[in-house]
Amino acid sequence: MMEEKNKSRRNFINYLLGGGFTLVASSVIYPIVRFMLPPKSTEAEPMAVSAGKVGEMHLNSGKIFKFGRKPGLLIYTKQGEYRAFMATCSHLDCIVQFRDDSESIWCACHNGYYDVNGNNVSGPPPRPLENLDVIIKDDDIMVSKIT
């Protein structure tokens, strides 16, 4: 009777150890498997980035900044306002640039023009540029997607 009780207690401990060991092994193997398999989703696109510092741009100028994997265009207008857009042309996705001589945004690929509000005004671009929000936070010019 006593022998049987001891046997069942040993079995119980063995099961407990076996289960525990399986769980420990899984916690090591699972991250390894996940590491080996490619992720289902790609990197998340940022919703906001810092496009530069206040004071580093002169009036009537523009600069390209990184908005995740796409380029953005920050403009400091003659009137002292910051404006930001995605810098990909609505025609064929070329990178646009600011032109201080005509105070407009220009696409060099097919000579498309946008005004400083991002509206397509001449050339092939069929639509305006994607507008971005600009918020000045301390010294940072924060640019974010409009949701």
């Binding site: 090591v28 590491f35 490619p38 994997r69 380029p71 064929l92 990178i95 060099a108 690929c109 000579n111």
Partner: protein, 426 residues
């Protein structure tokens, strides 16, 4: 106070009732249009004037039948038809085909009258029409050519911004094709009738009709609307240049402009076609069978070597760019951080588009300059993508090595425990 109230009740209330009745009667008289009421009794088809006019822009703007046709709409014609349509009351019979433009122009060329509907409204349609091919032929007595109602309809006229309008941008190709695709109707004009068919296969047609991009050009963007005419050979670059100013300018400054003029080639359409403008492929360059350069430059002739070089230069750059994309996508699939690679790839794409555009300068040197700069960028991107893939391999090898050591350690631990157990049992 009571006497004032009585005074008010006795005088003002009857006055108010009379005023309300008379203004209602006046209002209903103002809006009375007996033409519609009478014509509706015998016109049943959807396309009949009295039915179509209900949804006409003129009707919704308060323009009555009598404003165009004269007569007196306030007279109930069921009682006295002759009086309602009395020439003495200005009634005119519907205009003949050749009279329509002038008929519409009575109002549409009168800015004083039209500006009350829209202060920015155009009033040059009739003037333009007279310069159009349609207008010129109409003046010679050809009554088959289009007049205002051929495109706008007569009694179902809608704003051009209304998607149901026959002149809404996406409807224009079909509207023009009513006549221009009818081979029987167009017999005698010596122009093709396959424009719509070709336009539908073109890049412009694909964007407008399939993708719903209303900025894509329809017939009127190249030919004009009221002044519709085929662009002359010397003005093709201007027409295309409205939307493609960069390429147009490059062409104008190129050596080819002079030769195209000399041989009477219709500029842009020589290579790109007119109605069947399609997206160019890599076979379009060089001097192969499908190449547009090969139209003029046979193998071994002047310019053929440059044409081949331009093609090779762009093709090699394009292949390198595609290779960059494949590598970056592979790195992305493997979970590597590729934001910077993708960002730089945008610059490569821009250079490739610039190089393709620069073909319009017909200068090997200019094209090579851009492909050279683009190739440098692309090589950097390829190196970054290869580095990402190498990093992935290093991580995998590192993982295998660390797993090997973990396995060794685990096995050693197991053997050690076994050894301890064996010693205890001894």
């Amino acid at each position: 106070m009571k006497s004032i109230n009585r005074h008010f009740n006795n005088i003002y209330i009857p006055f108010l009732i009379i005023f309300l009745f008379s203004s209602t009667a006046l209002y209903s008289q103002e809006k009375r249009n007996n033409c519609i009421e009478c014509h509706s009794e015998f016109e049943e088809e959807e396309t009949s004037p009295s039915i179509e006019f209900k949804n006409d822009i003129h009707n919704s703007s308060g323009v009555l039948c009598s404003d165009c046709h004269g007569g007196d709409p306030e007279i109930d014609a069921s009682e006295d038809q002759e009086l309602a349509m009395d020439p003495k009351k200005g009634y005119k019979k519907p205009p003949k085909h050749n009279e329509v433009p002038e008929f519409c122009a009575r109002c549409h060329s009168d800015f004083e009258y039209m500006k009350k509907f829209n202060p920015n409204i155009r009033v040059d349609q009739y003037e333009n029409y007279l310069t159009s091919q349609h207008g010129k032929l109409l003046a010679t007595g050809d009554n088959k050519v289009a007049n205002c109602v051929s495109c706008h309809k007569a009694h179902g006229v809608k704003r051009k911004t209304d998607p149901a309008s026959t002149v809404f941008v996406a409807q224009i190709p079909e509207t023009c094709s009513i006549c221009h695709s009818d081979a029987e109707y167009m017999k005698g004009y010596a122009i093709p009738t396959d424009q719509l068919e070709k336009y539908k296969e073109s890049i412009h047609g694909e964007y407008l009709l399939e993708e719903g991009d209303l900025s894509a050009p329809a017939c009127n963007d190249c030919h004009g609307n009221h002044g519709a005419a085929p662009p002359g050979i010397e003005s093709v670059h201007n027409v295309c240049g409205v939307c493609h100013p960069g390429n147009s300018q490059l062409f104008l400054n190129s050596t080819h402009k002079k030769y195209f003029e000399e041989f009477d080639f219709p500029e842009c359409t020589t290579c790109h076609n007119n109605h069947l403008i399609q997206k160019l492929t890599k076979e379009s360059l060089g001097i192969g069978e499908q190449s547009v350069c090969g139209i003029c430059h046979a193998e071994g002739e002047v310019g053929s070597a440059d044409a081949v070089e331009i093609k090779n230069s762009i093709e090699n750059f394009s292949a390198l760019r595609d290779n960059c994309q494949i590598l970056s996508e592979e790195a992305e699939r493997k979970g590597m951080h590729v934001a910077e690679i993708k960002y730089q790839l945008n610059n490569v794409d821009t250079e490739l588009l610039k190089a393709r555009s620069m073909v319009h300068s017909f200068s090997l040197e200019n094209v090579k300059q851009i492909t050279g700069e683009g190739t440098k960028l692309a090589l950097d991107v390829r190196e970054m993508a290869n580095d990402a893939l190498k990093e992935y391999q290093i991580r995998r090898v590192g993982l295998v090595i660390s797993l090997f050591f973990i396995f060794i350690a685990g096995t050693a631990l197991y053997l050690k425990i076994k050894d301890i157990d064996r010693r205890r049992t001894k």
